[in-house]
């Protein structure tokens, strides 16, 4: 029987990988992927708690999260494409118009 802590460790790992991706990827699409991983780590947590507490609220909440994530990716990718059109690049290091 796999205990709750195993799910939490998995979720923490996925979250850390996602954060690592967000921080280190130079491509904006890669950063979006990292964000997706972080969100899914949250989903794992929610589902795991729902399962172990016998409460369906977490599962339902996860469904909402997934659908909102889809919308977020759609908007995010649209922004990336818009940036690409203007700047001819999606490399995060070079998107520094707000530099002081």
């Amino acid at each position: 029987m796999i205990g709750l802590s195993s799910y939490l460790v998995l979720a923490a790992l996925v979250f850390s990988i996602g954060l690592f991706g967000v921080l280190t990827r130079r491509n904006a699409v890669g950063i979006l992927l990292g964000i997706e991983l972080m969100l899914n780590a949250v989903n794992i947590n929610l589902v795991a708690f729902a399962r172990f507490h016998g409460d369906l609220t977490g599962v339902i909440f996860t469904l909402f999260t997934i659908s909102i994530t889809v919308a977020e990716v759609a908007v995010g990718l649209a922004i990336v494409i818009a940036i690409f059109r203007v700047r001819r690049t999606v490399e995060a290091d070079r998107l520094d118009l707000l530099r002081g």
Partner: protein, 601 residues
Amino acid sequence: MISNLGLTLLVPVTPFAAFLLLAIVGPLRRTGRGAGLLSITAITISFAAALIVWTQGFVGERTWGWIPADGGPIATVGVLVDPLSNAMLVLVTLVSLLVQIYSLAYLSDERPASLGRYYTYQSLFVFSMLGLVLAPGFLQMFVFWELVGLCSYLLIGFWYERPAAARAAVKAFWITKLGDVGFIIGIVLLWAATGTFEFTELFEKAQAVSGLPLIMFLIYLGAVGKSAQFPLHVWLPDAMEGPTPVSALIHAATMVTAGVFMVTRAEPLFALVPEVLTLIAWVGAFTALLAATMACVEGDIKRVLAYSTVSQLGYMMAAAGAGAAQAGFLHLLTHGLFKALLFLAAGAVIHAVGTNDVFRMGGLFRAMPQTGIVFIVGTLALAGVPPLAGFFSKEAVLGGVWEAHLTGPFLMLALTALLTAFYMFRVVFIAFFGRAFAAGHPHEAPWLMRGPLWLLAALTVAVGLRLAVGGSEHEAPGWLVPLSLALAFAGFALAWAMYQRGLVDPATFSTALAPFDFLARRRYGIDALYGVLYRALVLGFARLIGWIDRYLVDGVLNVLSALTLRAGSGLRGIQSGRAQDYVYGVAFGVLLLIVWAQLWR
């Protein structure tokens, strides 16, 4: 009593109404002549009221509380009507009326807007002067005192485009303010000691005041500034930069006599401090002599009259100082008439020949006999020839000074009488007789200007005759009349010999009196001294303040802003503009929070 009061109040209120109307209604002011006519109408009403008040001999006092405070008002405003103020009311309104009529012709070349401005100032001046005359207490007197000073400033600087006029206006303002500082300090000290500004109350309470000599000296300083006594006389000759009618009204007949009027009004107070009175007499006599010597070497006709005014003010002050304030006041009234006459006549001459320099005039009597006659009438009155007005008042002054056993001032005043006749006939002979220098064709002034001249000349004669018939009340020694007549004649004869007959060359005369000539032509260095002091003290202080402002006040702020700039540019490196750097920051921060939460739970 109510109707009397209403009539008395009408005197200052009508010019004030005219002033308000002209000041507020711009289009009316810009009509120029319309504004003049309005102002003249107001002053005519005022003059008529003053005449009734004077002939009926109203006497009374009415005051209203002003600055409210616990235990009754601190100060009052109101009117104090007595023979002194009645006579002054008539003089002020009469001369103002004539001057305003005269100005209509004299300033006819002005732009309408300027003319309107002129009449606005004139109305304000008349109101202020009347308020001063009617003041029942020192505080109201001081308020109007400053108002007439303001009007004087505005009217001297009427042609403010001319640097000389603007400078003269500022100079007049500055110098009189020097005296006014003393005046207000004296008033406040007196108030602190007695708790009132009212003349009638002060006269009762003043005996008990300690330090009264100092207080009265400070109050006297105000009169020194306003009435152009030595050493604050320097502003009056420069004030001639203003239009000639202004000189006639403000700087001869009315405002400059405010100091004498104040001393006369407060005579019971001054009588308590004989040492200050003696000082007043000496300073007055010295001023009279000093100004007369400067008038003898002056070439500008208006400046001669200005020095003459200073000199005659010295006479009045000397009389007040000798305890003969009534004689001084009589001289004030007669002098107001004939000096206004002389100034207006000089204005007619200047209008005709276009210069102030007497040496560029000459033979004008043939071209403008009417002006010549009235000028000579004024000159005779000023020189003290009977039966003209000046003779009797000058007699009264000299008699009063002699009675007070002030031998020094008496001698100075007697010498001044000689010089007065000399410098006035000098102008008469140079400008009106002798060779015709004047370029162009000088012509008689328009009737608007001649009318006031004739009226003033007639009044000078009439007042003289009235005084001759009425007789003088004071007992002067019998030799006084022959002496002063002899002095006047000597002055006349000297001028005649020098400038008409050429028996004595003025050049040899001035070399004989070289030191005096040298000093008088340089105004005894007093103006230069003021210039040096002004530059050293006032400008030096201004420069010091400027340095402090620039380097200390501004400096602190500059350092602060420089520090802010430095800090900002140092910190701008943090803002890389890359989203990932900010995420690093957030992640690091969250990490720190977690660690902190774990450690300090």
